[in-house]
């Protein structure tokens, strides 16, 4: 069922592309299946389906590699990272760095290794790759801390590196599935698709995904942060009620 749906998507997509081909000069078009991911109380991760098409590049016959790079970048946040040191025989947090522009989630996928698709300058100019992105925002921070951040995020599956794994349906259509783990945060996720000609980025297409908490979880989170006093009283009342209910229930059971 899902496959049929996706196929329909692709077909419609291609149709619209050809219909508007004349006024739309974009050599690259991309889209995502769902624009919103809702974090409910029983949220257990989600999948993001990204698809698109590129115009065949004539130069391919001349041996120049045309390629696609897809990045998913969540809202940038400020984060603290700390390093443990041994002091008085125990391991304690010591040095601390504040990192700016840290996305909660990052994903990269491409048709070839990035180095084969772009020149080094172009990679830097376009801020492609999480290391470039973080280094630019924090050029005074020791790379140990930036590498540690990436390592920690990668372990939680919040940073995913799939370079060279993007596959084409034919030479034009491409699609990929991104696994969004159950620990993703709220925010706007930008899906950036780059078309390259082997040296430069020739076209960029952006899509936006909204990740938001809904339901009971969202209600509690909002209350806890916007009206903490009411939330605190509410938490106590819930606990008192539960305690009273338990006491009554078991008193009745005992007879």
């Amino acid at each position: 069922m899902k496959k049929i749906l996706l196929l329909t998507f692709l077909v419609l997509f291609m149709a619209s592309k050809f219909i508007y081909a004349e006024e739309n000069n974009d050599a690259l078009v991309s889209d995502i299946e769902d624009k919103v991911v809702e974090i409910t109380s029983n949220f257990n991760g989600s999948e993001l389906f990204i698809f698109g098409s590129r115009e065949m590049n004539d130069n391919i016959t001349e041996g120049i590699k045309s390629g696609i790079i897809i990045e998913v970048i969540a809202t940038a946040k400020t984060r603290k990272i700390r390093k443990k040191e041994r002091k008085f025989g125990i391991w304690v947090n010591d040095e601390e760095k504040v990192l700016e522009g840290v996305p909660d989630f990052y994903y990269i996928n491409s048709s070839e290794n990035i180095e084969e698709l772009l020149s080094e300058d172009e990679i830097n100019n376009n801020d492609i790759g999480i290391i470039n992105h973080l280094t630019k925002n924090n050029n005074d921070v020791n790379s140990d801390f930036i590498n540690a951040l990436i390592r920690i995020k990668k372990r939680k599956n919040l940073y995913q590196f799939k370079e060279g794994e993007l596959e084409f349906k034919n030479d034009i259509l491409f699609s990929t599935k991104v696994t969004l783990p159950n620990n993703i945060g709220e925010g706007f996720y930008v899906i950036k698709t780059h078309l390259t000609d082997g040296t430069n980025v020739t076209s960029v297409d952006k899509q936006l995904l909204v990740v938001k908490k809904i339901g009971l979880g969202n209600f509690l989170f909002e209350m806890a942060h916007k009206t903490p006093l009411i939330y605190g009283i509410f938490s106590i009342l819930v606990a008192l009620f539960a305690g009273w209910a338990a006491s009554e229930t078991f008193r009745r059971l005992r007879g």
């Binding site: 029983n42 025989g89 939330y231 106590i236």
Partner: protein, 304 residues
């Protein structure tokens, strides 16, 4: 089935949480301990951030202590006058505790403080419990009567004496106030009710009759953990009401099962197992401080 905890911002199996609540509930019903000092470290082990675990556990204890205190209030085994003095100390202790907690959280040292407190107190409680239960075993085998407690000590020479009719005592209100404050402080830092300190101090130092000790300590714990919940939610935004609710569902049922089981099982012998469990948790937390961690770096979102 996974449940997404809105404040902790992690997804955990709901059955794991109910199971944990249930097991700790059974233990607390069986041994008459609050269970906070086991639940909080277990929450660390399943990946709940320590700051959230401590504050949430305080919230859960409001429920369990209220449930227990109701039974004691009905039986009139609560010394309310003593209770209010303990509460007044407790509120001050809790206030100080939450402020220290907040400052250390900003400095990234709160985990260290919480872990050190746990290693220290679990170490002491576990060892004492093990020693006591081994002695009790030997005593029950040899049929030796325990020594009677002296009810007049240094506490009776302190000023500001008050008459406590329920406890049939005429003593200074300073020791109950101080011990109340200490327990309030521990509630804020460790997410425990503090019964494990209150009860022995009330019996051995203040000299209260055993029948009012549990009720009075539960009475104090309701107010102190309630106040701690309120402070943590306003200062640290770290109370996860959903997590507390799920844990207490398992907890209340477990506590009832534990109380029934206690009738059939020989608690003296089981107490050795509890002591070993407490020591095991203590050692695990201690080793985490001593062994070089595989990841030296840790990440924290800046709380505004």
């Amino acid at each position: 089935m996974q449940v997404y905890l809105p404040i902790a911002e992690v997804s955990v199996s709901i059955f794991l949480l109910i199971g944990l609540g249930g097991i700790v509930g059974i233990l607390s019903g069986l041994f008459g301990v609050g269970g906070g000092f086991l639940m909080t470290p277990l929450l660390f082990f399943i990946g709940i951030p320590p700051a959230i675990a401590v504050a949430t556990e305080a919230n859960q204890i409001v429920a369990s202590s209220f449930s227990g205190a109701l039974a004691h209030l009905r039986r009139k085994t609560v010394d309310l006058k003593m209770g209010w003095i303990l509460v007044s100390g407790g509120l001050i202790g809790s206030g100080i505790g939450v402020q220290i907690f907040k400052v250390l959280r900003d400095l990234g040292q709160v985990e260290l403080l919480v872990t050190l407190c746990y290693v220290f107190f679990l170490g002491i409680i576990g060892s004492l419990m093990l020693w006591e239960s081994i002695r009790a075993l030997i005593r029950s085998n040899n049929n030796i009567r325990p020594v009677k407690i002296k009810r007049h000590n240094w506490v009776h020479r302190l000023p500001l004496k008050i008459r406590f009719r329920t406890s049939n005592l005429y003593i200074s209100c300073i020791p109950p106030f101080i011990i109340g404050a200490l327990v309030g402080f521990l509630a804020a830092i460790m997410g425990v009710g503090g019964g494990f300190i209150l009860v022995p101090v009330m019996i051995y130092i203040i000299g209260m009759p055993t029948k009012v000790v549990i009720g009075t300590s539960l009475f104090q714990i309701i107010f102190v953990t309630g106040f701690t919940t309120l402070l943590h939610s306003t200062q640290n935004y770290s109370v996860d009401a959903l997590l507390a609710l799920i844990l207490l569902i398992g907890g209340v049922v477990g506590a009832q099962i534990g109380t029934r089981l206690g009738v059939y099982l020989k608690a003296e012998q089981l107490r050795i197992l509890l002591a070993i469990l407490v020591l095991a948790v203590c050692i695990k937390l201690g080793l985490e401080l001593l062994i070089e961690p595989t990841e030296l770096f840790s990440l924290q979102e800046i709380t505004k």
